[in-house]
């Protein structure tokens, strides 16, 4: 009889490559049950979810538009997680960036986009960094758990935004709790005509490439990864562990801030308390499914955008709830995390 034994140890390389595929398959099997309950056929649902959006030009553009913020937050989370710093605060850092962008975009009196947009990006990056600073310092100096502090600061930020928009920033024209509209020069140019794909997509790709280069080709990057993989050994090797964690946390906050800038400048043109549809949290899914690599984050951001776009058409065509997309995302994260454990085992035959 064939006897198998599960051992600790690295899974073979070919197996590691198909782990994400397994995760997606298991997720869809799980979600099928829900689709059937909702009264639709799983096969046509998956066609609407995954294939149909790719066949239409407008839907393809929507995917790029939807992938933009989650690629930025995904890269932000990737940088932090690579350093072993579990930043769950990208959501709050995104809003910080959005506030800064709206402020620059309404206050700076210029008609030059070339001046305006870079300044918005810089301001947003700094704002995200500042919002990430406190938990990072608490972590490095006092070993305060960053998961708790960064997560809770998200709520603090939401209330702050709400206070700002209901108070000093309330739109004087409409009276809605949203900031005044940013100047024309601050509005990101649209890249694809008759779509909402904007300059933010290019910013996201550039940021991804720069981070990919930093993490794989620079001293700073390898030191950050060393700290994330084995803090004791990194210290033994003379790497300034605290400083690297702090820097990674700040860069992470800054990039999440850029996602806020991109949403204000490219989508809404004003600051609102519904700027993000959980983009900060989806960033955690993007980074995790991307195995904390930049190419992985790009792929998973596009994939999640596809699922979300597909959920919209599936709900229209098949009358299933649009929340299906959210369910798939959440299930994918859980299944993804579970299957990542497979990395640590290999199956051996016993003779």
């Amino acid at each position: 009889m064939l006897k198998l034994r599960i051992e600790r140890g690295s899974a073979p390389v070919w197996f590691r490559a198909i782990i994400p595929v397994i995760a997606v398959l298991i997720t869809f099997i799980l979600v099928s049950a829900l689709v059937i309950v909702a009264g639709a056929s799983p096969l046509s649902a998956f066609f609407e979810l995954l294939i149909n959006p790719l066949t239409k030009t407008t839907a393809r553009a929507d995917i790029l538009m939807m992938a933009t913020p989650i690629l930025l937050t995904g890269i932000a989370v990737t940088v932090a997680f690579a350093a072993g710093y579990y930043n769950i605060g990208a959501e709050g850092q995104l809003y910080a960036g959005g506030i800064a962008a709206a402020w620059v975009g309404t206050q700076l009196q210029t008609e030059s986009s070339v001046l305006m947009i870079p300044l918005m990006l810089i301001a947003g990056f700094i704002a995200g960094m500042l919002w990430a600073l406190l938990p990072a310092i608490l972590k490095v100096r006092l070993q305060v758990d960053e998961v708790v502090t960064t997560l809770l600061l998200n709520s603090v930020m939401l209330f702050l935004v709400s206070a700002l928009l209901n108070g000093p920033w309330r739109d004087p024209v409409s009276g809605w709790p949203q900031s005044p509209t940013i100047l024309a020069a601050a509005q990101f140019p649209v890249l694809i005509p008759r779509s909402r794909v904007h300059l933010g997509a290019i910013v996201a790709v550039i940021v991804a490439l720069v981070i990919w280069w930093v993490m794989s080709r620079t001293r700073f990057g390898i030191e950050v990864r060393a700290v994330g993989k084995n803090r004791d050994a990194a210290r033994f090797l003379g790497i300034p562990v605290g400083n690297r964690i702090l820097m990674a946390a700040l860069i992470s906050g800054g990039i999440a801030g850029l996602a806020g800038v991109s949403e204000v400048g490219g989508i809404h043109y004003y600051m609102t308390s519904t700027l993000s549809s959980n983009f900060g949290y989806i960033g955690v899914i993007v980074a995790t499914l991307g195995a904390l690599t930049v190419p992985g984050a790009i792929l998973s951001a596009l994939f999640l955008a596809l699922v979300n776009r597909g959920a919209i058409s599936a709900s229209r065509e098949l009358d299933v709830p649009v929340y299906l997309g959210d369910v798939i995302q959440a299930a994918l994260l859980l299944v993804g995390l579970a299957t990542l454990l497979l990395n640590r085992y290999r199956i051996r035959r016993i003779r």
Partner: protein, 503 residues
């Protein structure tokens, strides 16, 4: 009839035989010391007795009845109590809550009754403890007493203490021993695991000595001597003596360590004014039973910890403490105690080989991948590492991981080499390779400090042997006239007067 008997106990962990046909028994009302070096199999044997491990062979009898101890619950039911080195207490609970936890007699807690019981048990043993004190606020000694109360509350007749004095101050040790005497008077039996000879003579009536998983002796304590026990424990050495006699006692001092003192978190002293020096072209071995300050000494000299006082110089320059980065600048090669804290398993072999000197491979922050690869290929060739530059380090065997550490540090032509347990867990081939490399460094002119629990290794490699005991150097020998019996005696604290036979 003994209250408890273990017959022919064998326990294997993979290829390692931790306990080999061990027979052990405990009489009513005796304190039985279980003596042996680290790794001799003492803790394994007692964990079997407490149901934490299952023996591969052998039988356990309680009061003449054969029993099967599948879990600590079974052991507790048989009246066996265990106080581990690491207390199983909940710091935010009170003493009473900790004592009754897991052994509540009814679903609704009768707090007053339980408090009274805790106080009564403590009084029977003639010590005071506040039943309402929060355990986290108690001293280590008091926490240990809570553990003992816990075992008694569960009705234990045989109490096992695993190196109970390792964490205690001398005053707490004295107190503990008086409690043990009291327990004994009430007819309970105590097994005390230790590697300190003086404790054996202070407290025990019988002593069993383990070495390399086997019983090498069992004596009435009164009928034996410290010398006899230390010989049994360390073992008679029958190594081919190829000791180096070209001793360079006139060479310049390259590593000079002065008066290091260090206490652990609980305030117990681990180093008490330790001084030593190593000259160029010399290997100095530090011999000692584990837990006598070697780890602390290594942490300080590898930049991972800071002493409370003391100083060190490398070739006349002050060695900054707690700054590992500065040590490679000073040309100090470091082989850490735990090799998995020296490499980053998820990074490649090439990255691990260059990370300590990452500055040499960086231009304006950008890594020179070509140079890194060439360097890795050269070291892999020179040090016979069985790996490709891109392999993740964690896929390598222990010997090859150790070679990465050796290659990385020794390729820098160090002035001083700190080698901590450099061959622990390695096979014979890898061990010989490491020894060869250390000897090469000595020939080159480096000063090598070798800290090892393997006495054979120290005797084979060293020009000079230092003995560390309780955080101090208590003896110094030229390797060619080191007497194994005297060494063993000093290592186990049999005699604390400083022996100096250095030529």
């Amino acid at each position: 009839m003994p209250v408890l008997e273990m017959r022919g106990i064998t326990k294997r962990f993979g290829a390692l035989v931790a306990n080999d046909q061990i027979t052990f028994d405990i009489e009513a009302g005796e304190v039985h010391a279980l003596l042996g070096e680290n790794g001799a199999g003492k803790s394994t044997l007692m964990k079997i007795l407490y149901g934490l491990y299952q023996p591969d062979e052998g039988e356990i009898h309680v009061q003449g009845q054969r029993v099967s101890l599948k879990s600590p619950a079974d052991a507790i039911a048989q009246g066996i109590g265990f106080v581990s080195q690491h207390f199983a207490l909940i710091p935010t609970f009170t003493v009473t809550e900790n004592v009754i936890l897991g052994h509540e007699k009814q679903p609704i807690l009768q707090h007053a009754a339980m408090r009274r019981q805790v106080v009564e048990t403590a009084e029977k043993l003639r010590f005071n403890i506040d039943p309402d004190a929060i355990v986290g606020h108690l001293s280590v000694g008091q926490q240990q007493r809570v553990e003992i109360l816990k075992a008694l509350y569960r009705g234990c007749r045989v109490l096992i203490l695993d190196e109970p004095t390792a964490v205690l101050t001398p005053q707490d040790t004295e107190k503990l021993f008086s409690i043990l005497v009291e327990l004994q008077r009430q007819g309970l039996s105590v097994v005390i695991i230790t590697h300190k000879l003086n404790e054996v003579f202070t407290i025990s009536q019988r002593v069993t000595v383990l070495r390399l998983g086997k019983v090498v002796g069992r004596e009435q304590t009164a009928n034996t001597s410290q010398t006899e026990l230390s010989q049994m424990m360390v073992g008679r050495q029958t190594i081919p003596v190829t000791r180096n006699t070209d001793h360079h006692s006139q060479n310049e001092i390259k590593l000079n360590v002065q008066n290091l003192t260090m206490a652990d978190r609980s305030g117990a002293p681990r180093l008490r004014g330790l001084s030593l020096n190593v000259r160029a072209q010399e290997i100095v071995g530090v011999a000692g039973v584990a837990g006598n300050g070697q780890s602390e000494l290594v942490s300080i000299l590898t930049g991972m910890a800071q002493p409370q006082s003391g100083s060190a110089q490398v070739s006349g320059n002050v060695m900054p403490f707690g700054n590992p980065g500065a040590l490679s600048q000073l040309k100090v090669a470091r082989i850490p105690e735990d090799r998995l804290k020296g490499v980053i398993g998820d990074l490649s072999v090439a990255d691990n080989l260059m990370l300590e000197q990452v500055g040499q491979f960086t231009r304006a922050g950008h890594l020179n991948r070509k140079q890194i690869r060439e360097y890795a290929e050269r070291l892999i060739r020179d040090f016979h590492i069985k790996a490709a530059p891109d392999d993740p380090a964690r896929t390598l065997s222990g010997g090859n991981i150790q070679k990465i550490i050796l290659a990385r540090s020794l390729a820098q032509n160090p002035e001083v080499v700190i080698a901590a347990q450099p061959t622990r867990g390695l096979d014979i081939g890898a061990t010989e390779y490491v020894h060869q490399k250390l000897l090469e460094q000595k020939q080159r002119g480096a000063a090598v400090l070798l800290i090892s629990e393997d006495l054979d290794e120290i005797l084979v490699l060293s020009d000079r042997v230092l003995v560390i005991f309780e955080g101090m150097i208590v003896g110094e020998f030229a390797a060619n006239d080191a007497d194994i019996d005297v060494l063993g005696a000093l290592m186990t604290g049999a005699s604390s007067e400083k022996v100096k036979t250095h030529a």
